[in-house]
C-alpha cells in the first residue's frame, strides 16, 4: 500500500528472439507513477518489440512483466487492465471511410469511464475536421487522432510508440505540449523515439536501447553531457599525428575516403584544420548519436565504429 512508490510498470529479465536472433536481451525496467520514460534508440534497436511484449502483442521468451501492480501471464491482458491503458502504435490506417467524429464515437464506447466522443475530437484538435473521413486527413492529423484515441479511456499508463513520426515541427511541438499536460495530471508515460531532442523535451528519464540491450539510463541532463562530442569528417593531406594534435581531437579513425575525428571542441578543431591544411575537402561536422557516445564510454569501440559508419545525421 504505497501508491507513491509503487511501480506502474516493471519488467524483469525480458528476453525475446525471432528466428534465433535475439531482439531483446535481458531487459529490466521500472516506471513509477507519474514518470515519463523515453526509450531512445535507432530503428531496429528493439523499441517496438519491447512495447509489443509489454502489451502482450507478442509473447516474450523469458522474463516477468508487471503492469499496474499485476504480474502478467503470457500474452493475455485482462479487460480491467486494458481499460486503464492507452496505446498509440505506429499504424497504417484506420478504416478510411469513417469520419473523425465516428472513430471517436466508436472508441469512446469502449471506455465507459473515459472521454465522450466530442471531447476526443477536441483533444485531437480536429473540431474543424470532425466530419472528414480518415482517408482524407493529412499525416499529422491522422497522428493527432490516433493520439486522442489513445487517451480515450483516461489511462493511468500511456504507451506512445514514435508518436511524432511524420509530423511537421509545429504539430510536434503541440503534441509535446499535450504530453506535458498529461504528465502534470500524473499520467505515467512510456514513449519511444529516435529523436534525441524529443526525449530531452519530454522525459524525466531516458533509457537508451541498442541492439536489444539498455546501454544507458539517466536524466536528460546526464545524458546530454555525453553528446557534446562531435564528429569531424574530412579529406585532408595532414598526417594522422598532425590531425590528432589539433585542438579538441580525442580520437581518429581513417577510412578509405577520409578521416573521422571525435572532437570535444569541434569549432576549434575545424578552425585549426583549415589554417593548417587549406586544401581540406568534404568537410562535415556531425553530432554524435547518443547511443554511440555511450558505446564509446563503455569501451565498445568496434561496435561504435560500425555504428558511426552508417550513422544518420542528427539535426
Amino acid at each position: 500500500m504505497k501508491p507513491q512508490t509503487e511501480a506502474v510498470l516493471r519488467v524483469c529479465s525480458l528476453d525475446k528472439a525471432f528466428a534465433g536472433k535475439r531482439v531483446l536481451n535481458n531487459i529490466d525496467l521500472s516506471l513509477t507513477a507519474g514518470e515519463v520514460l523515453c526509450i531512445l534508440g535507432p530503428n531496429g534497436a528493439g523499441k517496438t518489440t519491447l512495447i509489443s511484449a509489454i502489451l502482450g502483442l507478442i509473447a516474450a521468451d523469458a522474463g516477468e512483466i508487471h503492469l499496474l501492480g499485476q504480474l502478467q501471464q503470457g500474452a493475455e491482458r485482462s479487460v480491467a487492465l486494458r481499460q486503464q491503458l492507452g496505446v498509440m502504435l505506429q499504424i497504417g490506417s484506420l478504416p478510411a471511410t469513417l469520419t473523425v467524429a465516428e472513430q471517436c464515437d466508436l472508441f469512446a464506447s469502449y471506455y465507459p469511464a473515459g472521454y465522450r466522443a466530442p471531447e476526443l475530437v477536441a483533444l485531437a484538435g480536429l473540431e474543424d475536421h470532425a466530419k472528414q473521413r480518415f482517408g482524407r486527413l493529412s499525416g499529422g492529423q491522422k497522428q493527432r487522432l490516433l493520439f486522442a484515441l489513445a487517451l480515450a479511456g483516461k489511462p493511468r499508463l500511456l504507451f506512445l510508440d514514435e508518436p511524432t513520426l511524420g509530423m511537421d515541427v509545429e504539430a510536434r511541438r503541440n503534441l509535446w505540449q499535450q504530453i506535458h499536460q498529461l504528465q502534470q495530471q500524473g499520467v505515467s508515460i512510456v514513449l519511444t523515439t529516435h529523436y534525441l531532442e524529443e526525449a530531452e523535451q519530454l522525459a524525466d528519464r531516458i533509457m537508451v536501447l541498442h541492439q536489444g540491450k539498455f546501454i544507458a539510463d539517466g536524466s536528460p541532463g546526464e545524458l546530454k553531457a555525453l553528446t557534446r562530442y562531435k564528429l569531424v569528417q574530412c579529406c585532408s593531406a595532414l598526417s594522422d599525428a598532425a590531425l590528432l594534435a589539433l585542438p579538441g581531437v580525442l580520437q581518429l579513425n581513417r577510412q578509405q575516403d577520409g578521416v573521422t575525428m571525435h572532437s570535444s571542441h569541434a569549432e576549434q578543431t575545424v578552425r585549426a584544420l583549415l589554417s593548417q591544411d587549406p586544401g581540406v575537402s568534404q568537410l562535415e561536422v556531425r553530432q554524435v548519436a547518443l547511443e554511440q557516445a555511450f558505446l564509446q564510454l563503455t569501451g565498445d569501440a568496434a561496435a561504435a565504429q560500425a555504428g558511426a559508419d552508417n550513422q544518420e545525421q542528427v539535426a
Binding site: 502489451l55 496505446v87 465507459p112
Partner: protein, 250 residues
C-alpha cells in the same frame, strides 16, 4: 448496458464503413440481380416459371455468399495489415463485438439481396410461392451465410491484405459454378456433378430447392450434416489460427 453499446456501435460503424465503399456495394448487390434477370428470367429455356424459381434459389445463394466471404476476408486482412485490429485488441473491446459486427453486416447485405431477387422474381419472373415458402427460403438464406462468413474469416486471418481479394474470387466464382448456382447442376458435365457435393454452396442451394420440391432428391439430413460439419471444422480452424495470431505474432 455499456457492453451492449459497444456491440451496437461496432456493428453500426462496420456497416456504414462498408456501405461507403462503392467498390464493394455495387458488385455485391448488382451482380446477383443482373445475373438472375439475365439467366433466370430473360433466357428461360422453355419460358417456364419453374426455371425462374429454380434460378431464384441458386442466384440467391450466389448473392448471399459474396458479401459474407468478401467482407470478412478483405476487411479483416486489411485491419490486420493496417494495425487497426491490433489497436482494437489492446482496447477493452471484446473480440466477439468485432466479429459479430462483421456478421451483422453480412446479414444486412444478404437481406438486401434476398429482397432484390425475390422482388425481381415476383415482378419479372412471375414467380408465385406460398408465403411460407418465401419466408422459409429467406430464413434459410440468412442462416446460410454462416459457413461462408467462416470461410471469409479464415481467409482474412491467414492472407495478406493484398492477396485476400484475389483468393476470395478464386474460391467464390468456381465454387458457385461447380455447385450449380449459375447453371442448374444437371447441366454440368457428369464428373462435375459427382463432385458438387464437395461444396457447401451446393448443399445450401439444395436445401433451398428442397423447400420448393426442385432438388436432386438427396436426403435433407445429408445436406444439413455436411453444412454443420463444414461450419464446425471452419470454426475450429479459425480459433486455432486466431490463437496463433494473438499468441506469438512477430
Amino acid at each position: 448496458m455499456n457492453t451492449l453499446a459497444i456491440y451496437q456501435k461496432e456493428a453500426w460503424y462496420d456497416l456504414i464503413s462498408v456501405w461507403r465503399t462503392p467498390g464493394f456495394v455495387l458488385p455485391a448487390l448488382a451482380f446477383p440481380l443482373v445475373f438472375y434477370l439475365f439467366f433466370g428470367v430473360l433466357f428461360s429455356p422453355s419460358g417456364s416459371t419453374s426455371h425462374a424459381v429454380y434460378m431464384l434459389v441458386t442466384y440467391s445463394c450466389f448473392g448471399i455468399m459474396g458479401p459474407a466471404m468478401f467482407n470478412f476476408a478483405m476487411s479483416i486482412a486489411s485491419d490486420r495489415a493496417q494495425g487497426w485490429l491490433t489497436l482494437k485488441r489492446l482496447s477493452p473491446m471484446p473480440v466477439s463485438a468485432y466479429l459479430l459486427a462483421k456478421m451483422a453486416t453480412s446479414l444486412v447485405f444478404a437481406l438486401f439481396i434476398i429482397l432484390l431477387l425475390f422482388s425481381a422474381a415476383a415482378i419479372f419472373g412471375e414467380v408465385r410461392l406460398y408465403h411460407s415458402q418465401w419466408l422459409g427460403l429467406a430464413l434459410l438464406l440468412l442462416l446460410g451465410t454462416v459457413p461462408f462468413a467462416l470461410i471469409g474469416l479464415l481467409l482474412g486471418l491467414t492472407l495478406s491484405d493484398k492477396a485476400a481479394p484475389g483468393v476470395v474470387n478464386l474460391l467464390y466464382l468456381p465454387m458457385a459454378f461447380l455447385s450449380g448456382l449459375w447453371l442448374p447442376v444437371t447441366m454440368l458435365p457428369q464428373f462435375l456433378q459427382q463432385l458438387a457435393w464437395l461444396w457447401p454452396s451446393y448443399h445450401l442451394s439444395q436445401l433451398g430447392l428442397k423447400l420448393l420440391a426442385l432438388d436432386q432428391g438427396q436426403p435433407l439430413l445429408l445436406h444439413l450434416t455436411i453444412l454443420l460439419v463444414t461450419s464446425t471444422v471452419l470454426t475450429l480452424l479459425c480459433l486455432l489460427v486466431f490463437r496463433r495470431y494473438t499468441g506469438a505474432k512477430s
